[in-house]
Symmetry: C2
Subunit: 100 residues, 2 copies
DNA sequence: AAGATATATCGACTTTTTCCGATATTCCAA
DNA sequence: TTGGAATATCGGAAAAAGTCGATATATCTT
C-alpha cells in the first residue's frame, strides 16, 4: 500500500466527490439501481461522468486511478464497468492516518 | 479545513517523512533537545533539512506548506523557527477519513 | 456481419508541483 | 553597527497531473 499514491489519488476535488457519491448511490444517481438482481455491483462510468460534468475520458482515467490504489473495485458486466467503494482500503487508510 | 489541500500536502514522500520524524524528534534528530527549558517547541528547520538531504529552500517551502494546512505549528525563537506536529489537525484528519 | 453503445487508451496541450540556486530578511553577537 | 547564521522568498527548469478530443476496443443487438 503506497501511502503517497493514496494521498495523491485523494488530492483531487472530483475524485473525492466520486468517493462520496459512491457512498450512497441511490441518493446521488437518480436512475441508479443495483444491477445483477440484488447484488450491488456499483455505479457505471456513464452515470458518474454525467454527474461530474467532465468528459468521459477524464472520468474513466480518474476511476482507474482510484482503482489502481485500491479505493474502489471494478466489475465488468457486459459493456458496463461498475465501480464501487472498497471499504476495506478506506478503513485501512483511516488506520494509516493514526500511525502517521 | 480544505480536504483537497490537506491531501495534497500529504501527497509527497518528504512531507510525509517530516511528519513522522516530528512524531519522535529524540529518535530522529541526534542532537535534538527541547528548547526553551522544558517546553517542547519542536524541531528547527536546519535539522530537518540536513536529515532530508534536500536544499534549505525546498524544506522551508515544505514546512510552510504543512503549516498552511495546519498539520504543523511554527514557533519563532530568535533566529530559529521550530516546527512541531499539530496533533489536533491530524486527529481531525482521521475523523475526516471516516466521513469520506 | 454491421451498427450502436459503453468504456478505455492515446496524443496533445495547459496548469501545477517539484526542487533548485540566488537573494532577501531577521536576529544575534562582537 | 556590521558580520554571520538561520530562515524565507523569488525566479526558473523539469517533471507530473489535469483535461480534452479523437480513436480503439469490447459487447450487445439485429
Amino acid at each position: 500500500m503506497d501511502q503517497v499514491a493514496l494521498f495523491k489519488a485523494l488530492a483531487n476535488k472530483t475524485r473525492l466527490q466520486i468517493l462520496t457519491w459512491l457512498k450512497s448511490p441511490e441518493e446521488h444517481f437518480p436512475d441508479y439501481e443495483p444491477a445483477c438482481g440484488s447484488a450491488d455491483v456499483g455505479v457505471c462510468v456513464g452515470y458518474i461522468q454525467r454527474k461530474s460534468g467532465l468528459t468521459q475520458s477524464t472520468i474513466s482515467e480518474y476511476l482507474s486511478t482510484l482503482h489502481r490504489v485500491g479505493l474502489v473495485s471494478a466489475t465488468r458486466v457486459g459493456q458496463w464497468t461498475y465501480y464501487k467503494r472498497n471499504e476495506e482500503t478506506i478503513a485501512t487508510l483511516g488506520n494509516l492516518i493514526d500511525t502517521l
